[in-house]
Amino acid sequence: MGSLILCEDLWKVYRVGDVTVQALRDIDLAVEQGEFVAVMGASGSGKSTLMNILGCLDQPSRGRYRLDGLDVASATSDILAEVRNRRIGFVFQSFNLIPRTSALENAQLPLFYRGLSLQEQRVQAGSALERVGLAGREHHYPTQLSGGQQQRVAIARALVGSPAIVLADEPTGNLDMESSREILGILARLNRDGMTIMMVTHDSDVAAYASRQIMLQDGRILFDRATTSHVPVMQ
């Protein structure tokens, strides 16, 4: 079957006016099932671009990208949507919950687009919320939840469709220390249960939760190594 994520000679080139920006240059990357990878780098290093491509929100200008054995480098937008729906769970820095919509309904969303029956959507979304410790908060609106709780709803939404990988983009960027530890604890636990996780962060303390760290600089991989000081603070 091979690697879960396999990038070969991946380039992303933007044209902004007359200027050509090479956001990613010659990325070769393989991520195996069950890994917890932290992608690090300064702003402008290309880590967001990489995550967008890995998350099938964007497509590379050149090179090959196989996700779960599927070539998605040149797929149509509908196929990309299908891949995002079934194989990828997103967690964003700014939570990105739909406002004025309950936690349960937010968590149901991927299943809604999968065409499951309402009954099934509710049951699965309910158990996903339970996994992130939000049982009893199903009918709260985002505004009634703390930042940490909102991010947990987002994680439940990422999990609900049993994806192949969870992509987290600065998941603790908008949270206080306490909530950050909570969220990282949940991600670490999910990883121990077998979920593959890739997380973008610029914080080396946060990156320490991962088992592998990739550093990007100017669109290239600067280093790619196993975490040496692996001291996760588990709750």
Binding site: S77, A81, Y113, R157
Partner: protein
């Protein structure tokens, strides 16, 4: 797919109920347009039905043959001034044309009618026995002329409701009373049921009928014995009218010995001709009202498009989130289309309600007849859904074409 549409409709309703004022103002154009369609079409249809029932009050499937005009030294008289139609024409038509169920004839003149110390100037009609049958006229009291009355030119009369009101006190029984026409006493043998206005607006109940034979010999004193003011005939079915008209024309031309190049010396009319002019008028009215209503639907549709464009911009981030979790372009397109249609259909339903109330009020306040047809309600409903679909398409397509990364980054 069904679950998707159902949930999307529920979401749309929730989004709209959150912005009630905005949704209400957006729907206003559709509400007014649909209400106008429903109310005005129901008034138009009411007017048409009224015309139709007036035409029917003349009697159904009736053919009227009027004499032609006189020409004296190049000066033509008005219609009916020539005495070209006769009783024998009528008898001949009855004999020759089996399509005709009944034939009759009449002559009228306006005369002073006297009852005791009251008098009234009204039309007196000498009629043949078939006439009232053709006009489909019934009696409130008394009954028709007998054959003996006709044969003996008896001085008997049938009286219309308006004439009764002008010659008799309220509650007085006209049947059996004696009135005088040109000093000739007549006994009233029957009162006719009211028919109301004719299609031309004349009071059909302002009338007095006497046997044709009596009129000819004792009242009108015609210099042309046997000539009639008009011939009447009726057919079994309305479809037979054109065929019967052709046969009558042919028979009369032969009887009047008209050469092919000579014009008819008579005119044939049917209820269809009389009614069609006025139905045409109210049809034009309906079309015009429909055009006005369409303009207001168009304006309403543009309102919906405008508010949807605002909504797409406001919810750009939500669209990005939905795309990130796997919504295809089709899903986003459907979501906004369904929102547009929900808006316009809700507006349409409110408009239908207001239109029905408006039509009822018109009937109550102005006394105009209105008919609310299922057809117009159905059409209004479909139209409002169509307006939502059409004007929602552009904003929905705009939403569906958003780039997910940019949408997610949108502040």
């Amino acid at each position: 797919m069904f679950a998707f549409i159902l949930l999307t409709v529920l979401t749309a309703l929730r989004v709209l109920s959150r912005n009630r004022l905005r949704a209400g103002l957006t729907m206003l154009g559709i509400v007014i347009g649909v209400a106008a369609v429903i109310a005005l079409v129901s008034i138009g249809q009411g007017a048409r039905a009224a015309v139709r029932s007036q035409v029917a009050s003349m009697g159904t499937n009736v053919i009227v043959v009027l004499p032609g005009a006189t020409t004296v030294g190049g000066v033509r008289g008005g219609q009916g001034t020539a005495m070209t139609l006769t009783v024998s024409d009528g008898l001949e038509l009855k004999k020759r044309i089996p399509l005709l169920v009944d034939t009759g004839w009449a002559r009228r003149d306006v005369m002073q009618i006297v009852n005791g110390n009251r008098n009234w100037n009204g039309p007196v009609n000498g009629i043949s026995p078939g006439y009232l049958m053709i006009r489909d006229w019934a009696y409130t009291s008394g009954g028709p002329f007998t054959q003996v009355d006709v044969d003996s030119a008896a001085r008997v009369a049938l009286i219309g409701q308006t004439t009764v009101e002008n010659l008799f006190d309220a509650g007085e029984e006209p049947v059996g009373a004696t009135i005088r026409i040109k000093n000739v006493p007549f006994r009233i043998v029957g009162v006719l049921t009211p028919k109301g206005q004719s299609a031309q607006g004349a009071d059909q109940d302002d009338v007095l009928f006497i046997p044709f034979t009596t009129a000819e010999r004792k009242v009108f004193g015609s210099q042309f014995l046997g000539s009639v003011g008009a011939l009447f005939a009726s057919t079994e079915r309305p479809e037979d009218l054109p065929e019967a008209v052709d046969q009558i024309r042919e028979a009369l031309r032969i009887r009047h010995r008209l050469q092919p190049e000579q014009p008819d010396d008579f005119t044939i009319r049917t209820q269809v001709d009389i009614g069609s002019v006025q139905e045409g008028t109210s049809h034009t009215l309906t079309v015009m009202l429909f055009a006005i209503a369409s303009v207001s639907l168009l304006v309403g549709g543009i309102g919906i498009m405008n508010i949807l464009l605002v909504s797409v911009t406001e919810r750009t981030r939500e669209i990005g989130i939905r795309m990130a979790v796997g919504a295809k372009r089709f899903h986003i397109l459907m979501q906004f289309l369904i929102e547009a249609v929900t808006l316009s259909v809700t507006g349409g339903l409110i408009g239908i309600g207001i239109g029905i109330i408006g039509a009822r009020l018109t009937t109550i306040v102005a006394g105009w007849p209105t008919i609310i047809s299922a057809d117009s309600i159905f059409t209004a409903f479909i139209f409002s859904a169509g307006v939502g679909l059409f004007f929602g398409l552009y904003p929905a397509n705009k939403a569906a074409r958003l780039n997910p990364i940019e949408a997610l980054r949108y502040e």
